[in-house]
Symmetry: C2
Amino acid sequence: MEIIYHIGSIPLFKGLPRPLLEDLAMIVVVQMFKKRQNIFTDGDDGNGFYVVISGRVKIFKASLEGKEQILHIFGPGEPFGEVPVFAGLKFPASAESMEESRIFFFPRDAFIGLIKKSPDIAMNMLAVLSRRLIRFTQLIENLSLKEVPGRLAAYLLYLNKLNKGSQDLELDISKGQLASLLGTIPETLSRILGRMHKTGLIESDGPRIKIVDVKGLENLAVAGGRL
Amino acid sequence: MEIIYHIGSIPLFKGLPRPLLEDLAMIVVVQMFKKRQNIFTDGDDGNGFYVVISGRVKIFKASLEGKEQILHIFGPGEPFGEVPVFAGLKFPASAESMEESRIFFFPRDAFIGLIKKSPDIAMNMLAVLSRRLIRFTQLIENLSLKEVPGRLAAYLLYLNKLNKGSQDLELDISKGQLASLLGTIPETLSRILGRMHKTGLIESDGPRIKIVDVKGLENLAVAGGRL
DNA sequence: CGTGGCCTTGATAAAGTTCAAGAGCCGTGG
DNA sequence: CCACGGCTCTTGAACTTTATCAAGGCCACG
């Protein structure tokens, strides 16, 4: 069945025996979201978690004044919204689709039953949560210890690594969203891109960015680097 | 045996059957740390995790210029340093004792073996990591969406809640360390405490702080409040 | 009684945000 | 086919917040 195929290709469920995949298929609920649709909101009660099958989802915190801080952007195969499954019941942040997305929902109680049967699922989930803690640690370091140029430099180098070292990058999110991800606002991001261009670190043309000076960016990305 | 008693009183191991506690006692390594002693450093390889038995430990990120951001302060019964056990191998932050502390160390491989035998340990650990994610989410919200007065107000209200609503608080960490926890520096913290005093939100005398205007603090603590 | 640590206070500087205006782009509809 | 409206992005100037640098006070401890 198609569902089983998708479930089997989720890293979280990698290497599970066929019968367990079938159990998972029994409890999954398939959901579709259009672009910019709310999936859950900070403070809502959660009674299960989600996995992106296609499309993209952002997890974020919003302030009253309308500023947002993006915590994650998740694509196919990535789970999200697990926290209420294991601790308390409320989502600590909000989730929204960034494009048309297909999402699998796994209800809490049935899923916990499966975990207790399979230490492998538990270990995989522990790995997922641990990686998320690493990501948050970096985000906190960026917000607290680095200035915006340093955060941007770190992000560009991250894209650079994703692209196996290619210095020709293409932003796959809008600059406004990138600002939210970096903990700043579009105006500031725009100015800093301009400054990086002027000082010869990058070349920039809309969403295409070319890294000219890797060393210079690495220097900036270290907490303490100055532009 | 004394070790077993301590292990049994760790929330992470709450409700485990006696034989499992004995297994844990077999693999534990007891360590003592004096005040301000390094336990592990950001980037080190980790081959196990820790539980505070007595004393206190801070987990933090440091920048080259010497600024630090405290991520957690852990006391008796609280585990730390679990991330390398489940994801990759490196600690994403550093740990240091804040006072003389007794710490139990559980080596990775033996512990993973126990987890696979006991879904209860796994579930408890999932809960621990999930709560940590909640804490990080709040920290990120504070750093990104609130200004320092808002962060301080939120912290005072947190102490207020810990003390079951008492408005007479006593800081149990130095103001310098509190500044690190709030993502700022001592000078700024000092000024803001002064301003809160002057505007009648609190009364402050060294480490003793009395909340005068709960509503006012709550208003500040919401992302968007102004002092 | 002096010395070092911690905290406070002041003056100054830097970084980032806000507000405002305008440019470029794209899809829609006349 | 072009004009319009709406969006994102950019740029400038003023302002706010926070950090930095420097100095002085307070207190505990030897």
